[in-house]
């Protein structure tokens, strides 16, 4: 008797498809920027986090100078702690990277390896970036033989990626706003197309919640479709990214930030859809022919 909620969408198939597509694009564009930033950032971080700044100490430096230097570095806010790596530890690290056999072949011994300070940043990546300049400056000191810091270009790229992530976030807000407008406008149009039915139901005593239900259901379904479409596209992009990364860098990146970005439209779509459905179906936004000019409608 009373048409099901999705009947109006089925009647206007092409318009519904266009709205879903537009809504999906609204989520996809910022999602893609944020996703690219997140995926690139994950990849860069993965590489950068394995690299802690190292200060190689001069052989002639006195214990007092070394203690003073260590104390100074420990007070940096970006440094969580300073690990003292003696010759034997350096050999062990080398063995881990090159293999025991290879180190033996090379004839490297603990006496040959200089003592060094390994700086563990207090916060990953951000700590790394700030530490680069601070650590690089230590090379001028007499007690320091050399420093090893990540390549400045990599750090700069990472900074740009952070900016890209921020822009993606801003675009995300804009995309969500566009998505909300697209879905809401369409829900209002569908609601107006059913105005006669709503008026009749209202006239004979239908509860407000039963009049609101179709808009809410439509909001959830349209949001789910649009969000699902955006997520599927981002998932495909993610799979492509992973295969490219593994081909270029030779290992798989963890992509901890990229996954949530890819899945986000699937959660955001229905959530905004349900909110839009609630909003457009409030009595104040429902148009009616029941009420004459001088009177007002009941808020049912």
């Amino acid at each position: 008797m009373i048409q099901p909620a999705m009947h109006a969408c089925r009647v206007q198939t092409w318009q519904t498809l266009a709205v879903v597509l537009a809504a999906a694009v609204a989520l996809l564009l910022p999602g893609f920027v944020a996703f690219s930033a997140a995926a690139a950032r994950d990849t860069a971080e993965g590489w950068l986090e394995t690299f802690n700044p190292v200060i190689y100490l001069s052989a002639g430096a006195s214990q007092g100078e070394l203690d003073a230097l260590r104390g100074e570095i420990s007070e940096w806010s970006t440094v969580e702690h300073v690990r003292v790596r003696k010759g034997a530890d350096a050999v062990k690290d080398l063995e881990k990277r090159l293999g025991v056999e290879r180190v033996r072949e090379l004839g490297v011994t603990a006496a040959m390896m200089p003592a060094s300070f390994v700086l563990v940043p207090s916060t990953p990546v951000t700590g790394h970036i700030e530490l680069v300049s601070l650590t690089a400056g230590l090379e001028a000191r007499e007690s320091v033989d050399a420093v090893s810091v990540p390549d400045a270009t990599a750090v700069r790229i990472l900074s740009i990626l952070s900016l890209l992530g921020f822009i993606g976030g801003l675009l995300g807000v804009l995309g969500v706003a566009v998505f909300t407008v697209v879905i809401s406008e369409y829900l209002i149009r569908l609601q107006r197309a059913e105005q006669a039915q709503n008026d009749v139901l209202l006239m004979f005593g239908a509860q407000g919640r039963s009049l609101r239900k179709p808009s809410i259901i439509r909001g959830v379904v349209l949001g789910l479709w649009a969000g699902g479409l955006a997520t599927i596209t981002l998932m495909v992009a993610l799979a492509i990214w992973q295969s490219v990364i593994s081909a270029v860098l030779g290992g798989s990146a963890s992509l901890v930030h990229a996954w949530p970005v890819a899945v986000m439209p699937l959660c955001v779509g229905p959530l905004i859809g349900v909110l839009a459905g609630f909003w457009v179906s409030t009595p104040e936004r429902r148009t009616t022919d029941l009420v004459p000019r001088l009177l007002t409608a009941y808020g049912v």
């Binding site: 008797m1 009373i2 006239m203 005593g205 029941l290 009177l295």
Partner: protein, 244 residues
């Protein structure tokens, strides 16, 4: 909800029309008892439709009006319960809101569906169509109906299921005799079965002498005690009803 209370009582309904710069409704008070027959007549623009909208709970009255529905004060009623109160009523006007893409029968069934009584719906609607001699319209989509037939369907929908109060705004007056007579007879039957019937129009029907008569002029409502001249054709209506 009190069973013995009037269907609806309206006290001191005042409404100013800023466009016409006069009162559209002027201190209107009326009580619609259960099982009563009320006719309100007046010229076009006197405020009948406004009063109809308030009494049939289509529109909220202005602040300051006391509206009591089935013994309950509407001012103190949660807004959600107004919908329940509407289930007591059926209403129709000269421009009925119908579901154009649905058949006449499907339109008539709507009140039953909303009231949650679908069991008797089909039988009741078919009986009503038969009684009103409109069975041929049963499966006709409403968009294919003439204006007169639309009004007739609107009136039938208002009385289907015998609601406690039936409110008709000028709809019967605009109908040709072929459609008007059986509908008026069916309204009388509803009245005999206990429904309160409120007719608003331009002239009293013959049945007006059975109930209360009101006249409306420039927003003022006054009860008429004088006998009413019965038009000849309306007498025939009663004869048809009596024969049935």
């Amino acid at each position: 909800m009190r069973k013995d209370a009037p269907i609806i009582s309206c006290f001191h309904l005042d409404l100013f029309d800023p466009t016409r710069k006069r009162k559209a409704l002027d201190d209107v008070s009326i009580e619609v008892e259960r099982g009563t027959w009320i006719e309100i007549v007046g010229p076009a623009g006197c405020g009948k439709t406004l009063l109809f909208s308030v009494l049939s709970l289509r529109a909220a009255p202005p602040k300051g009006t006391r509206l009591v529905v089935a013994g309950r004060n509407l001012d103190k009623m949660p807004v959600i319960e107004i919908a329940d109160m509407r289930r007591l009523m059926g209403s129709a006007c000269t421009r009925p809101i119908l579901l154009d893409d649905r058949t006449v029968l499907e339109n008539l069934v709507v009140p039953f569906v909303v009231r949650g009584e679908p069991q008797m719906a089909l039988d009741a609607c078919e009986t009503l169509l038969e009684t009103c001699d409109l069975m041929e319209l049963r499966d006709v989509p409403v968009r294919e109906l003439s204006h007169q037939e639309r009004i007739a369907v609107g009136v039938m929908r208002a009385m289907v299921g015998r609601p406690a109060g039936i409110f008709i705004d000028s709809a019967l007056a605009t109908l040709e005799q072929r459609l008007q007579k059986p509908l008026l007879n069916e309204l009388k039957q509803c009245h005999l079965d206990g429904s309160a019937v409120v007719l608003l129009g331009y002239e009293y029907t013959e049945n007006a002498r059975r109930g209360r008569r009101f006249r409306m002029e420039l927003g003022e409502l006054s009860e008429v005690e004088t006998p009413v001249i019965v038009p000849a054709e309306v007498s025939e209506v009663e004869d048809v009803g009596g024969a049935r």
